[in-house]
């Protein structure tokens, strides 16, 4: 018993090191960490977990390096959340999809809009949250024509007095957080090559980590590190091509044989096809300071029709672990080799320490687009479990011995033939929308879709004067008829604990608190609070537009807890409203319009920040 007890405390401290340490308050948080005994990652729902004190800020979209999106604040709890009311609103003046998280540093809230990517600083110390400053980077208009799926931006990040964000036209910009003055501006890609940027950077050890979007345009994916102070590119890791470009060297030790070999980023493709092979980086990055590793995933391969690119198409749909200072790859695991269903591998990875099989494992939890929740050993890339969190028939499971995803050949698309009921559909079981993890309940909170698709017939299309042919993709509700779900999952048992069926896809992020309240939004504009242990609905508020943003919570200058979220429909799922797509054209929006035909009757566009308090 005694031995176990010691081990548990040890585990807790490690988790604390990962979960805490907001970048904006480095010294303060390390002080508080040193004096705290933490029991994190014990048995779920234990209820006796001591948590590190929360500094009340929310300095990056994922809240912490471990990407838990968990706040230790407790003022708002399951009993009083019913009294939550809107205390302030702010119009962003932009009509496209708002996927970003507002962030809070001290007495200021910062947010970045979709294209044209305007940054606002709002003064939390004054009534009505007046604008302290705003910054308009004036991105090129033409970049809107390059972005595939609405002109979204997933947020900005704060570190050491500066804000960092990406523009749709491929600039990474650092602003002085106090004044809004530009400190540096680095052009890292080119819309003329099909590259855009939509992801939120992560700042680790003086490096601003960023990635590109644009697989639809045949670009080559990369992750770059910019020097935090100068904006200079410190390193670039490509996701296709020779090992030297991928930053694979002698220290690269993938767990599975299939991921071992020389220059697999070349040899797993037809000649030269890797040069336009996709594998972009438009999702989330996590960091473990103890292991000194960053973790992130790459998007699916291009071109879309798989018969043109026989082979594994490395390193697309892959999780990488890299050293932040050099970019050197330490391990990689290809989640979906030779993807055929548009299952980008860019989702969030949540870093926690869990007792598994009698041992404490440093794990990375990843609710993947292909429909499995991967629990992996983050020290070496071993898959410990991969359980479906919804209905899957496109694949038949993951072989834990080989790491192989077992495809179902009956569901593989082929031009000229009809394939029906492919589940999950192209947007996956879950797309970009990040989940949250509560060390108090030990549960993962996952906003996601329940969609299937048919791929049928051949449709003519036309680009740059050239006719081409493709599949008619038609997306529709999965089993049960609900298009979305918000579910709680126990990563230790690999089982669902509870689930809320939502009519529309749940395309918002989520956030959970030490008050045992979890928050998420719906595409028709309801912002909801539920009991983190039972899923019981506790409160809801109808915002002006559909919610696809990421909720956050913070302690205001008055010492009270607030909750904030951006409302503003759009994104791939909401493009029918934000992009004004034609509801009669079922293949519009990559087939998504067929699944959201009713959305224009349920919500309207318009970006608005909502802040709630007791």
């Amino acid at each position: 018993m005694r031995h176990q007890r010691i081990e548990r405390v040890y585990v807790g401290c490690l988790a604390c090191a990962v979960i805490a340490a907001p970048v904006g308050c480095r010294s303060e948080s390390s002080r508080s960490m040193g004096s705290t005994t933490v029991h994190v990652g014990g048995a779920p729902a234990a209820g006796d977990v001591d948590l590190p004190p929360d500094d009340g800020q929310w300095t990056r979209p994922a809240k912490d390096f471990a990407s838990t999106r968990f706040s230790g604040l407790t003022e708002i709890n399951t009993t009083n959340v019913k009294d939550l009311r809107a205390v302030a609103t702010f119009s962003t003046g932009v009509l496209r999809g708002h996927e970003a998280a507002p962030i809070v540093v001290g007495g200021t809230m910062y947010l970045v809009t979709p294209f044209p990517n305007v940054v606002y600083a709002l003064d939390l110390t004054k009534p009505g949250l007046p604008v302290k400053w705003s910054f308009n980077p004036k991105p090129e208009l033409a970049s809107q024509g390059v972005a595939c799926c609405d002109v979204v931006n997933r947020g900005l990040v704060y570190d050491a007095g500066k804000l960092f964000f990406n523009t749709l036209d491929d600039h990474t910009i650092a602003l002085d957080a106090a004044t809004g003055h530009q400190v540096w501006n680095t052009k890292v890609g080119d819309i003329n090559l099909g590259e855009t940027m939509t992801m939120a950077p992560l700042v680790v050890k003086g490096k601003v980590l960023i990635g590109d979007s644009g697989g639809e345009m045949g670009v080559r994916g990369w992750l770059k590190a910019l020097d935090e102070h100068s904006g200079k590119v410190a390193w670039t890791a490509y996701h296709t091509g020779p090992d030297k470009d991928v930053l694979i060297g002698p220290g690269f030790k993938p767990f599975y044989a299939r991921d071992r070999g020389v220059d697999l980023g070349v040899s797993s493709w037809p000649p030269d096809m890797w040069k336009i092979g996709g594998g972009t980086t438009w999702g989330w990055i996590s960091y473990d300071p103890g292991l000194d590793l960053v973790f992130y995933g790459t998007a699916n391969p291009g071109p879309w029709n798989p018969e043109v690119r026989p082979g594994d198409n490395k390193w697309t749909s892959t999780i990488f672990a890299r050293k932040p200072e050099t970019g050197e790859a330490v391990w990689a695991y290809q989640l979906s080799p030779h993807d055929v269903h548009d299952y980008d591998g860019v989702n969030e990875q949540i870093l926690v320490d869990l007792p598994i099989g009698g041992q404490t494992r440093k794990v990375l939890i990843r609710p993947e687009r292909n429909g499995y929740i991967y629990v992996m050993d983050r020290t070496n890339g071993e898959v410990l479990s991969a359980q479906p969190y919804g209905f899957i028939n496109s694949t038949m499971g993951v072989d834990l011995r080989t790491g192989a995803l077992e495809y179902n050949p009956a569901k593989a698309p082929k031009v000229g033939s009809v394939v029906r009921e492919i589940c999950p559909a192209a947007p996956g079981m879950k797309d970009w929308q990040p989940s949250a993890y509560s060390p108090k309940t030990g549960l993962l909170y996952i906003p996601h879709q329940n969609l299937c698709m048919d791929e049928e017939g051949v449709s003519a299309n036309y680009i740059a004067g050239t006719p081409y042919v493709g599949m008619n993709v038609k997306i529709y509700p999965g089993p049960g008829g609900n298009r979305g779900e918000y579910e709680a999952w126990n990563p230790q048992t690999g089982k669902q604990v509870w689930a809320i069926k939502e009519d529309l896809p749940v395309w918002s992020g989520t956030m959970v608190t030490a008050g045992d309240v979890a928050f998420y939004g719906t595409m028709d504009g309801w912002f909801k609070a539920v009991d983190a242990r039972t899923g019981a609905p506790l409160w809801q508020f109808k915002t002006g537009s559909g919610i696809i943003g990421q909720p956050v919570t913070y302690k205001g200058p008055d010492g009270h807890q607030y909750v904030a979220v951006l409302s503003g429909i759009g994104g791939w799922s909401g493009a029918i409203v934000a992009g004004g797509l034609d509801a009669r054209d079922s293949s519009a929006g990559g087939g998504f319009v067929n699944a959201t035909r009713d959305l224009p009757q349920k919500t309207n566009k318009g970006g608005m920040l909502y802040v709630f308090g007791l």
């Binding site: 208009l141 033409a142 809107q144 024509g145 390059v146 972005a147 595939c148 080119d190 819309i191 003329n192 090559l193 099909g194 644009g214 697989g215 639809e216 345009m217 045949g218 670009v219 037809p270 000649p271 030269d272 096809m273 040069k275 336009i276 996709g278 391969p301 291009g302 071109p303 879309w304 029709n305 018969e307 043109v308 690119r309 026989p310 548009d342 031009v415 000229g416 033939s417 192209a426 791929e455 051949v458 449709s459 003519a460 036309y462 680009i463 740059a464 004067g465 050239t466 006719p467 081409y468 042919v469 493709g470 599949m471 992009g579 004004g580 797509l581 009669r584 054209d585 519009a588 990559g590």
Partner: protein
């Protein structure tokens, strides 16, 4: 781009277009090229609404900002016929093109698009072209069919679309024949900083970077004449690769869905001005198949 207009303005303008056109068609021949002075003639409205065309500013032989493409020339032909000056909204013709131009109300006509495209209302086709094999004449390949066994030993350039549920027919057809390893991919989009980015695939044939390429006819026909070495341009057989991969496509004009009056007017114009359109296409070396094929491609 010019700002989008509200629905009322657009409707008004289109009906004005119709009325003006009916009034002025008989005069058009007399007044060729003097569209801006039309308003001074008796009975004409004070201001002629422009013919607002949505076009790619950098994609010869189709269109460019300097007005050198055959779609520019066809737009001018329509403008003259209707007595209206041509005004452009420039936007790269790729995903989002229709949405951001025609769909946003910034312009009213797309001169070239695949017939039957769902996102717009297309007119009757005004030409039918084909994918072609392009190779250096000095190679004497004379390959005509996708089933030619020699293809298995060649580096074959094809254009690729990226990860967007679609691709060019040769990419599908050659991969279906087990020749993925022979393919050299060029993105249709190319590098937009350079002139006419889709033309790089024809440049690659001329330079010998690939042995042969399978390219959409109008692009190949135009650039094959402009490379430093003689190139052979040969229509691909079969025209339809079974079960269903077409290599020939009908090309039409596109207007907003619902603009049926305008579409009918364009249909009438296409029928009436067929000889002029055909000779323009001939001048640009557009290979054509079917009824209006030039006698010598």
């Amino acid at each position: 781009m010019s700002g989008s207009r509200n629905a009322w303005t657009r409707t008004h303008e289109l009906s004005a277009w119709r009325e003006t056109a009916l009034l002025l068609v008989p005069l058009a021949v007399l007044l060729l090229g003097t569209g801006s002075t039309l308003s001074l003639r008796a009975g004409a409205p004070a201001v002629q609404p422009a013919l607002r065309v949505c076009a790619d500013p950098n994609n010869l032989p189709f269109s460019n900002r300097a007005g050198q493409g055959f779609e520019n020339r066809i737009a001018e032909l329509i403008g003259r016929d209707l007595g209206r000056r041509v005004e452009y909204t420039w936007w790269a013709q790729r995903r989002g093109f229709v949405r951001n131009t025609l769909g946003a109300g910034a312009c009213d006509l797309v001169v070239g698009t695949a017939a039957g495209m769902e996102m717009l209302a297309t007119t009757r086709p005004y030409y039918k072209s084909t994918y072609v094999f392009v190779s250096r004449h000095d190679r004497h390949l004379e390959i005509r069919s996708l089933d030619d066994a020699r293809l298995r030993h060649l580096r074959i350039g094809v254009q690729l679309i990226g990860d967007d549920f679609a691709n060019t027919p040769p990419a599908h057809a050659l991969a279906n024949r087990g020749m993925s390893k022979n393919l050299v991919g060029f993105t249709v989009y190319g590098d937009y900083r350079t002139a006419n980015p889709p033309a790089r695939i024809v440049d690659a044939v001329a330079k010998g970077d690939v042995d042969i390429a399978v390219v959409w006819g109008p692009l190949a026909g135009y650039f094959a004449r402009r490379e430093g070495v003689p190139l052979d341009v040969v229509p691909v057989a079969p025209r339809v690769d079974l079960p269903y991969l077409p290599f020939v496509f009908d090309i039409a004009m596109g207007v907003r869905r619902g603009d049926s009056v305008v579409r009918a007017q364009l249909d009438e114009l296409i029928a009436r001005r067929r000889p002029s359109i055909d000779s323009l296409l001939d001048a640009y070396g557009v290979p054509r198949v079917g009824a209006n094929a030039p006698t010598e491609p």
